[in-house]
């Protein structure tokens, strides 16, 4: 049976190697963070990190993950003790229904790991793979900027 390293813990799971990671995270390991959104790699709701890079867990069979550490949103903090990026999302009210948000957090986390001070276009480009239907985008962008220590665009005026 495959062994996975999830949020720093080695976990042996009773699943076939072709099982997508998403189902193992949710059903074998009882983790809520990664969400089923499309199962097609189109929406990003299932985004997690593998070796620090954002990966779509609905498309990633666990058979390719032996020895490669997986991080989910649970690995960044808890509702009671959120990590810095999660705290930025809370501070900016960056969720409406919130179904896409764990995926957004993980996508942004991978971005900030690679590029701690991304520009506005870099943030938008990184997040383009993740869909939000409530239209929370401005809040999500504000949360990522906050976590990256970037100021919000100046108030007033326009282009």
């Amino acid at each position: 049976m495959p062994t996975l390293t999830v949020n720093g813990r080695a976990r042996t799971v009773a699943a076939e190697p072709d099982t997508p990671l998403l189902y193992v995270l949710r059903d074998e390991l009882g983790l809520n963070g990664a969400k089923f959104g499309c199962g097609l790699g189109q929406c990003g709701a299932c985004t997690v990190e593998v070796e620090g890079r954002a990966v779509l867990s609905c498309l990633t069979p666990i058979g390719v993950l032996e020895g490669r550490p997986v991080t989910t949103v649970e690995g960044l903090g808890s509702p009671e003790a959120p990590g810095p990026l999660q705290a930025a999302f809370i501070a900016e009210n960056a969720a409406q229904c919130g179904y896409c948000i764990a995926g957004m957090v993980m996508r942004a986390h991978a971005l900030l790991r690679e590029n701690p001070h991304p520009g506005e276009d870099e943030i938008r480009a990184a997040l383009r793979l993740n869909l939000c239907r409530c239209g929370t985008h401005m809040r999500i962008l504000a949360a990522v900027r906050r976590a990256a220590g970037r100021p919000s665009p100046a108030a007033g005026g326009g282009s």
Binding site: G37, A95, Y99, R124, G135, M138, S159
Partner: protein
């Protein structure tokens, strides 16, 4: 109801006292549930529970309801417990829809909490031998000026909340409020960003099994042959369930259910289907369908039609979908007597009725509990998933069944926002104002939700099917397809007709703002067309037709903050629009700047400014987020979204065949200005931005590229064709 009765008693200006109900209607949902303990419960330990029949859909209602209750009760919001829509525990407040939650539920909870506070004060006054008006309530205790305090727990046994909310219940004075009007952080967000259990998808009941549905390949197809043995024999598969054309597979583990569903689909043979008009014929088909006409507004009918320039236009809107990011899900359990269903549908009480009818169970044996799902924006697949879970749980005694739709199932089978058409003819008088207005909206229904069992998709497919009830038009003043069809503008003569089309080729129901999206798009586009014909500034033109000071205030604030009238670079344009949602809820004006790429027809929303008046503000961030979200969602609808279909049915089966806005499409700036009206009634705001955004975009495209787009969505190919490049 009571208000109407009372009004009817006014004969010749004199109120006939003593006949009929003496009480005026209590505000909000107190009219249906007038007792304090329907909304507020006080336990012997002094802890307070707030009850609401409304549901959290991502609009932040939990936080706002906690704020109003905590304010009146002098409690830390963190200690309040809130129970949302549950047929066994909470009042029946129908659907969480129509931007009603604040005006219905928050109004009721606020008054019930104030009434509870008054009872606590009275009880404390007796115990302390003090005058009630000298006592204060804070931190879960009643305090006297001399420092003596009685905690709620010490008073709980002495008060009875099973009492009506008095008509004269006094709220805390606006100037003394510490929670209402403040941006209390959303109570539900920490769990959502950190993987706490937050959704119906996260329920893991002991013994729970996983179900997947196999739907027909197209609407109306019938299952003519099925081979089940191979699938039933797969490891972990518990049951292949067939009832008529309803086909499902249940497995111990979720991924086994997924693979079994695929295998089962390959063993099912379907025939037939319900034909759908080709996309090119969509509007000709709609125009040719039988319709029932209702004149919903007529003004100045006796006056002659004035002379002037006539401006006419037709507008169209294609089918659009809710497109929830999480496909619908539900969990149900049947113990042989009682059915319990956990669902993210918008109405637990109507759902209970539908499930009871479908399974021939007494309603008292069915309990529906709301648990959050992905945002729905109206009637998506949630009720259907609950119906499917109930059918399967009924067949699998004692095993909680979790149904999870696939992306394709949600996309193809959700009820869409219907295709619509409008026609306007306006006469511009010699004074440069609209002197006559003639408007007709042709629309299907915007409500096919439960309570009827036949509104559940699978119930229609059973061996003994429940037919879909005949579609109905929703009445004014809120309306359905004719929602916001009556302009708020002052026109000397006006006539508004609603042509209700009962039979539609695709399944339709409520999508955020219903017909208001299309009607406001049409009215506000025509207002710009008329302003242009009059040589008037669009903002000034609107103001010249408006008396309502609150309408004028949002328009003026939006124009000022946007910098209306400033010159823009080539290829850019500014557009303006306004609406009061349903003509009786929140006021919203939206100004946008767009960039139009002439070669591709691509339109980009560069920035947007809105102003909102939703009465008294409870949580400014909650309101801001509803407007921000509404503008972005309506931008996505208006620029990108149409359900693709061919002659056999919808073909928008995923996000590649139904693209929606992504981060690169998001404006550079989006500012929402809130106008607070302390002491004024709450006005619904959750849907108010949809129509103005669509029209503001069309009006901005007109300015940027000198073309007028009259069809939603305003996709690049339409823009490009209009430009003629």
């Amino acid at each position: 109801m009571t208000a109407l009765t009372r009004r009817a008693l006014l004969v010749g200006g004199a109120l006939l006292v003593g006949i009929g109900p003496a009480r005026a209607a209590l505000p909000g949902s107190l009219a249906e549930a007038p007792r304090i303990d329907a909304w507020i419960r006080l336990d012997p330990d002094g802890s307070v529970t707030v009850l609401t029949g409304k549901a959290e859909l991502g609009q932040g209602i939990k936080t706002a309801l906690i704020q109003v209750a905590a304010e009146e009760l002098g409690l830390d919001p963190a200690v309040l417990r809130l129970i949302t829509a549950d047929t066994e525990l909470t009042p029946d407040e129908g659907y969480t829809a129509g931007s009603h939650s604040m005006q219905d539920s928050a109004t009721a909870i606020r008054l019930a909490a104030a009434a509870a506070r008054a009872l606590l004060v009275q009880a404390a006054a007796l115990r302390l031998g003090a005058r009630a008006e000298t006592l204060s309530v804070a931190d879960g205790a009643v305090a006297a000026p001399d420092g003596r305090r009685l905690h709620f727990a010490e008073l709980a046994a002495e008060i009875d909340l099973d009492a009506p909310v008095p008509e004269a219940t006094a709220l805390r004075e606006p100037g003394t409020r510490t929670l209402v009007g403040r941006p209390l952080p959303r109570v539900d967000i920490p769990a959502k960003v950190a993987g706490g259990p937050a959704y119906v998808q996260d329920i893991r009941a002991p013994g729970m099994v996983h179900a997947r549905i196999v739907r027909p390949p197209r609407p109306g197809a019938r299952l003519v042959a099925l081979e089940t043995e191979a699938v039933a024999a797969r490891p972990g598969v518990i049951r292949v369930h067939r009832d008529g054309d309803f086909l499902a597979v249940v497995a111990e583990r979720e991924y086994a259910a997924v693979t079994a569903m695929r295998a089962l689909a390959a063993h099912a043979v379907w025939q037939g289907g319900t034909p759908v008009p080709e996309p090119d014929a969509l509007f000709a088909d709609l125009a040719g369908r039988e319709a029932k006409r209702t004149i919903i507004h007529e003004a100045g009918a006796g006056t002659p039609v004035p002379a002037g320039r006539t401006i006419t236009a037709q507008y169209r809107r294609r089918y659009q979908m809710h497109g929830s990011i999480g496909p619908s899900c539900a969990v149900a359990e049947f113990d042989g007597t009682r059915l319990t269903v956990w669902s993210h549908a918008q109405g637990m009480f109507p759902l209970r009725k539908a499930l009871a009818e479908m399974l021939a169970l007494p309603e008292v044996q069915v309990r529906c509990i709301h648990v959050e799902g992905s945002g729905c924006y109206g009637h998506n697949g949630a009720d259907d998933a609950a119906g499917d879970a109930a059918l399967l749980a009924h067949a699998l005694l004692g095993r909680p069944v979790r149904v999870q739709y696939t992306r394709e199932q949600e996309h193809l089978w959700e009820p869409y926002g219907g295709a619509m058409m409008t026609q306007v003819s306006a006469v511009l008088g010699p004074d440069g104002r609209i002197a006559d207005w003639d408007y007709a909206v042709r629309s299907p229904t915007h409500l096919t939700r439960p309570p009827g069992a036949g509104q559940l998709l699978s119930a229609r497919m059973l061996e003994s099917p429940f037919p879909a009830p005949p579609p109905k038009a929703l009445p004014q003043p809120e309306g359905g397809g004719d929602r916001n069809a009556i302009p708020l503008y002052r026109f000397a003569r006006a006539r508004v007709a609603h042509d209700f089309v009962a039979a539609m080729p695709l399944r339709v129901s409520a999508l955020r703002s219903l017909g208001a999206y299309m009607n406001v798009f049409s009215i506000e586009s025509l207002m710009d067309e008329a302003a242009e014909a009059a040589g008037a500034d669009p903002v000034a033109f609107r103001l010249a037709h408006l008396d309502d000071p609150r309408a004028r205030a949002v328009i003026e604030a939006t124009a000022a903050r946007f910098g209306w009238g400033a010159a823009l670079p080539k290829g850019r344009g500014a557009g303006f629009a306004f609406a009061r949602y349903k003509n009786l809820a929140g006021y919203c004006a939206v100004a946008v700047e767009v960039a139009v790429e002439r070669e591709s027809g691509r339109v980009r929303l560069v920035r947007a400014q809105a102003a909102l008046d939703a009465g008294e503000i409870v949580n400014p961030h909650g309101l801001r987020d509803q407007i921000e979200g509404g503008i972005i969602q309506a931008m996505s609808w208006s620029l990108f979204e149409a359900v693709a279909h061919d002659a056999t049915g919808p073909t928008s089966r995923d996000w590649s065949t139904y693209p929606i806005a992504r981060f690169p499409d998001i404006p550079e700036r989006l500012d929402v200005h809130l106008i607070d009206r302390p002491g004024a009634p709450f006005l619904g705001a959750g849907e108010v931005a949809q129509g103005p955004t669509a029209a503001a975009l069309a009006n901005a495209i007109r300015q940027a590229a000198s073309v007028r787009l009259r069809e939603l969505p305003m996709r690049p190919e339409l823009v490009k064709a209009a430009i003629g490049v």
